[in-house]
Assembly symmetry: C2
């Protein structure tokens, strides 16, 4: 199969799956009722379905990579993707719960070009809205039973779902803790992004396989595929956050340096260069800060270090995918999804 | 059986059950490991197991009414209370999750005589700690499988757990919303306290019965017993918040009036008296505010109105308990627990 045909497979599957995921989420969040109160209205706003006045809106709400991965993995593992819809919806709602709380914790005023929930309705209500979204994500999971998934599988899926939730909060804990710490090792950092990003991508592929009825070994390969995919994608994002093309990334080049974000290339630079540690120890910076940091990072070859890490994770992801022996057109679609996320344009 | 013996039954059961609940919660929150990181340490602090420096502490952490009700209801419905331990622990952890977030939302500086979690470690980490406690409460529920509870019962218990979580957030939403609203009806208020307090007490009794294997009708009576018990207790608390004996309630008399809390007697007064509405419309109050409000409440007989409500809920609770036909010494213990909570000293 050539690239063009593979692209068609992914697009064809996505076109069938995305409206079904949206429908499932809307049903859980009671978005199809004629009257909506503010309690659900705030959640609909966050999802991009209504505006600040709770009037219908059409806002681009992300690529929905997570639910697509869940459903395609289910089909590739021999299952019926429609059975996995509640899990796909649950994971997307869980992701959105974490965004609501992250926006408060990071004091972010905007998301996807709109005011964040807490900026409109206040921090107090936004904390509670996030809690509601978290509970509703669990109720989405509970709908697996209605799709004929047997109770033992539902229990096991829910346990993995909540173990992942705990890891997500551990990742967020570490991320906030890093800002205050003078020394963060590369190993600390990998642990943090594993919790904050990779475990959720891993859960997508894992639950897809689990619901399809894959054996434990195959399910573990799907999970490892997702985890490495998530790690590779995050490290790639770190590279683009420093050396990325503004026109492609949508954020100003070197923005991660200006905000002093402790990403992988920066941590490597801090580890390798005394000069870099001196620079980061200063609290106020002049215009030369960004070019000075980049010069040091180039000197210690931080980009190459990060690139090697990203490639290692990419390779590992693809090895686990092969070991999982995905079947049919969904196998091609998974490969295509991975290729898109792992494009080596960095 | 006379009162003295009943008291013995409740005490005897509590003495066996409480250490088991604590042990179950400590296991879920990894409190028995030799090394504790700050992530779990903050949760242990909130539970009263360690101090600010994460050194062992012994702090009175509430009466643990909720887990006791869960376990005693399970036994009264013919079950083995040890099987319900994960649910009892989960409900207590869920309650504590909501306290962590409520303390942020209400800007409370202290709880049970100690600084609140967010006052020590900051609002950002405290939001995340609450999220972690929420996820861990779900993992506590997942341990029902390890106690031999069949998967279908675990799935049904988890669904009821999360439906209750959504109702709790709806109750908290309404509570915060009321502070901004000029007009709150008695019906609005009952709906709010149902969500904020009563549904969780209902869940305790319901899950106890469900795990014991009670039929749907009996389980519904246990739930209704808990719900009415919770409502009666909350309305009683409202009365004591205005007319309570400082020595018994631990808070200064009429404190709810000073803080302008919209409790049942106040809402009744606002509905009945134009003078009261005028008083509450003013933003700064002189020393005469509290005595003036109490004079109006006495004039419109607000205490009697609230007392009648509390008695109606109490009676309904006890009727549902009788209809549930609880068995053995646990039946006496449930009656005793209800009598303690519903004592008519108001």
């Amino acid at each position: 199969m050539n690239n063009e045909q593979m692209s068609d497979v992914f697009s064809t599957l996505s076109q069938a799956m995305l409206p079904a995921v949206t429908q499932e989420m809307r049903s859980v969040l009671r978005a199809n009722q004629t009257q909506t109160d503010l309690f659900y209205g705030m959640l609909h706003y966050h999802m991009g379905w209504v505006d600040e006045k709770l009037q219908p809106a059409q806002v681009h709400a992300g690529k929905r990579i997570r639910p697509l991965l869940t459903l395609i993995a289910c089909q590739a593992a021999g299952g019926d993707w429609q059975q996995a819809l509640p899990a796909a919806a649950a994971i997307e709602l869980l992701h959105n719960f974490s965004l609501i709380h992250d926006d408060i914790e990071d004091a972010s005023h905007t998301r996807r070009g709109r005011l964040t929930l807490w900026k409109i309705w206040g921090m107090e209500q936004a904390i509670n809205s996030g809690d509601a979204m978290f509970a509703l994500a669990h109720l989405a999971m509970a709908r697996l039973s209605q799709r004929g998934v047997e109770p033992l599988k539902v229990v096991n899926s829910l346990r993995r779902f909540d173990e992942t939730c705990v890891q997500l909060t551990q990742g967020q804990f570490a991320d906030m803790d890093f800002e205050k710490r003078a020394k963060v090792s590369v190993a600390d950092y990998i642990r943090m992004i594993t919790g904050k990003t990779a475990v959720l991508i891993a859960l997508c592929a894992e639950l897809g396989a689990l619901i399809a009825g894959a054996d434990d070994e195959t399910t573990a390969h799907y999970a490892a595929f997702g985890r490495n995919l998530g790690l590779a994608f995050q490290v790639k994002d770190d590279i683009l956050g420093i050396w990325g093309d503004e026109a492609l990334t949508g954020k100003s080049a070197a923005s991660d340096i200006l905000t002093r974000k402790k990403t992988l290339p920066v941590l490597y630079g801090l580890d390798q260069s005394w000069e870099m540690r001196q620079l980061y120890a200063q609290t106020d910076h002049n215009e030369q800060f960004v070019p000075q940091v980049i010069a040091i990072l180039d000197e210690v070859d931080a980009r190459r270090f990060a690139r090697q890490k990203a490639i290692a994770y990419s390779d590992s992801a693809l090895e686990h995918l092969a070991a999982a022996s995905p079947q049919g057109e969904a196998a091609a679609a998974l490969q295509q999804l991975a290729d898109r996320l792992l494009q080596r344009n960095y």
